[in-house]
């Protein structure tokens, strides 16, 4: 299943990026490409391996992958894998931060709303979650920047990126706004899903049993009900996290954050074949790994799934 899908992704991205009009050498050199002699151009094509027919290029690329050779990026002039691995930690950190924000806001809000079903406080949470879910992340980003700049006269730090292990505080101050921007709609969906899952679980028999044996309301909600209600939340967060690992193109663009998504966007526009191919394959692999982990988390959370399969 895994290798088959990855093979399909590799074929599609390989063909797709070659269908983009224009060629990599012209995109790299701009108007100076006109000054190249045919021999120089041929030498450049050969250097980046784009002088061969497609099947040969594809075969070279695929066999190279198994040796850890993703090819050379035309725009960066460096091996593709290095470029991807340099960007990936930022994307991973951004995805982790926004998921932390989403879960720490969404789950308590959802549980709170479920325990106050159909009361005004439930309604307020539901309306807020609905609005949150309907707000595009670039609107959230623009509003945050606007409030900061017009209200407080400050602008979020952009540009030069500090790695987390070099200066955690400065790194967090750069990442927190993009993380909030991405976490906003994410938190809203977590709220909605955990609320409805909690409502389902709270009407189950075993919750009534827990209540009747005299467990405190707090223990009923957090110890008995919540773990079961978490299953749909895990699914949702897993899928969302998988997508976030593919890079949040728009938010990275707004905050000028050099992550994976923006890199792919620029690579597509530069016809950087090797980089687009490598990055898309990398993203697809991440996505599938996360999905696999979600399935495993399922089994860990729900003993029924474990027992059924026996």
């Amino acid at each position: 299943m895994f290798p088959l899908v990855l093979l399909g992704v590799s074929v599609i991205v390989f063909v797709a990026i070659r269908l983009v009009p224009g060629d990599a050498i012209t995109a790299m050199l701009g108007t100076e490409a006109g000054l190249l002699t045919p021999a120089q151009r041929a030498a450049l094509d050969a250097y980046f391996g784009i002088d061969q027919p497609w099947p040969v290029q594809y075969w070279r690329w695929i066999t190279g992958l198994f040796q850890g050779d993703f090819g050379i990026s035309v725009t960066f002039g460096k091996p593709v894998l290095g470029v991807i691995l340099e960007r990936f930690p930022r994307t991973l950190e951004l995805a982790l931060l926004s998921m932390m924000i989403a879960l720490s806001v969404g789950i308590p809000a959802g549980v709170y709303a479920a325990t106050r079903n159909e009361r005004p406080s439930d309604l307020i949470v539901r309306i807020a979650a609905m609005i949150g879910q309907s707000t595009p992340n670039f609107v959230v980003g623009l509003v945050i920047i606007y409030v900061l700049s017009a209200g407080f006269g400050v602008l979020p730090t952009m540009g030069a990126y500090t790695p987390f292990f070099e200066n955690p505080l400065q790194n967090l101050s750069q990442m927190i706004l993009p993380a909030i921007t991405l976490g906003f709609a994410f938190a809203a969906s977590v709220t909605r899903v955990s609320r409805s899952a909690m409502l389902d679980v709270l009407s189950d028999d075993y919750v009534r049993t827990a209540r009747s044996k005299g467990s405190s309301e707090r223990s009923v909600i957090w110890r008995h009900a919540l773990p079961n209600a978490l299953i749909p939340v895990v699914t949702l967060s897993g899928i969302e996290f998988g997508y976030l690992l593919g890079g949040a193109v728009i938010v990275e663009q707004i905050y000028a954050l050099p992550g994976l998504g923006r890199m792919v966007l620029e690579a597509i526009q530069q016809r950087d074949y090797a980089l687009v191919q490598g990055a898309v394959l990398f993203i697809a692999l991440n996505f599938m790994i996360v999905n696999l982990l979600v399935d495993l988390a399922y089994v860990a959370l729900d003993p029924r799934i474990r027992l059924e399969s026996r």
């Binding site: 299943m1 088959l4 899908v5 990855l6 399909g8 992704v9 599609i12 991205v13 797709a16 990026i17 269908l19 983009v20 009009p21 539901r126 979650a129 609905m130 609005i131 879910q133 309907s134 707000t135 595009p136 670039f138 609107v139 623009l142 509003v143 920047i145 606007y146 700049s149 017009a150 909605r192 899903v193 609320r195 409805s196 997508y243 593919g246 890079g247 193109v249 728009i250 663009q253 707004i254 998504g261 792919v264 966007l265 597509i268 526009q269 687009v276 898309v280 993203i283 697809a284 996505f287 599938m288």
Partner: protein, 277 residues
């Protein structure tokens, strides 16, 4: 008729339906040209005017009326959303139904293909398609349509598989009904409920994706207006001319909210078993 009534008795349905109806009216007015000003006309003397009685939502950097541009943009976004979701629904229904009906290798090939498409992040897939074909309204429609096809294929295939085994399908076969008749009459009609819900929610996503694409400059091309483009343009001027950002932001958000609310209501009404949120 009962169906429409039940939408209006559902609180989310009432609000969502009203929002969508309002947007449709605005889009139609924009389409026939009933706008306060020409959305492309540059009133150079009135550049960057704050909202006033002549320009209800102010003017932009080129002196164009923001309200008129918004009306045109809503029409633009809705056109893209409706057509792309129509493509995805049609393609997904045909693929999903045939996958479920014929099974075997056809099913296996189709569903692997859908897995492959789903492994691409939606916005990146759309970006790739747009770069290949070149940006524009029809490209956005095609790109978003392709991106959402796998979701519809899955939505149709699952229930179709179980419907296929039901007695009434066997009965129809013994009557000698044609394959086409069984597929459209017995399977498709029973799938209308989940499809309706999915279509409404997909419209919300499509609006989101369209706005995102044009925000990146890969959707509708200037001078035509679109909501994402207006928001992108407002970035450099947001301190001196906040109305350039605020109005498009509200309009984008409300349109998505409308479809989300309507989709929720439809799910409650049509699909009481899987009642969520």
């Amino acid at each position: 008729m009962r169906f429409v009534q039940s939408i209006f008795t559902h609180p989310s349905g009432r609000i969502g339906g009203a929002i969508i109806a309002l947007y449709l009216i605005i889009a139609c007015l924009g389409a026939v040209g009933l706008m306060p000003h020409d959305p492309l006309m540059q009133y150079r003397i009135d550049r960057l005017h704050a909202p006033n009685t002549t320009y209800l939502m102010g003017t932009d950097l080129f002196g164009r009326d923001v309200l008129s541009r918004l009306m045109q943009g809503v029409g633009q976004s809705f056109t893209v959303a409706f057509f792309s979701v129509a493509i995805a629904t049609l393609a997904g229904t045909v693929l999903g139904l045939t996958a479920a009906w014929f099974g075997k290798s056809w099913d296996a090939i189709l569903m692997r293909l859908m897995d492959i498409l789903l492994a691409f992040p939606a916005i990146l897939l759309a970006l790739l398609i747009v770069t290949i074909v070149g940006p524009g309204t029809s490209t956005s429609i095609m790109a978003i349509g392709i991106v959402y096809t796998p979701i519809f294929t899955r939505v149709v295939r699952g229930p179709a598989l179980s419907l296929k085994e039901r007695d009434f399908v066997d009965a129809a076969r013994t009557f000698g009904s044609s394959r086409f008749y069984i597929l459209t009459r017995h399977l498709l009609l029973n799938l209308v409920a989940p499809l309706t819900v999915q279509v409404t929610l997909a419209l919300a996503w499509a609006l989101l994706t369209e706005a995102g694409l044009s925000f990146l400059g890969l959707g509708t091309q200037p001078p035509a207006s679109s909501l994402g483009l207006m928001l992108a343009d407002s970035r450099n001027l947001m301190e001196s001319a906040p109305w350039l950002m605020i109005f498009p932001a509200i309009v984008v958000m409300m349109s998505i909210l409308g479809f989300n609310l309507l989709g929720d209501a439809l799910r409650d009404i049509l699909d009481p078993k899987t009642r969520r949120a």
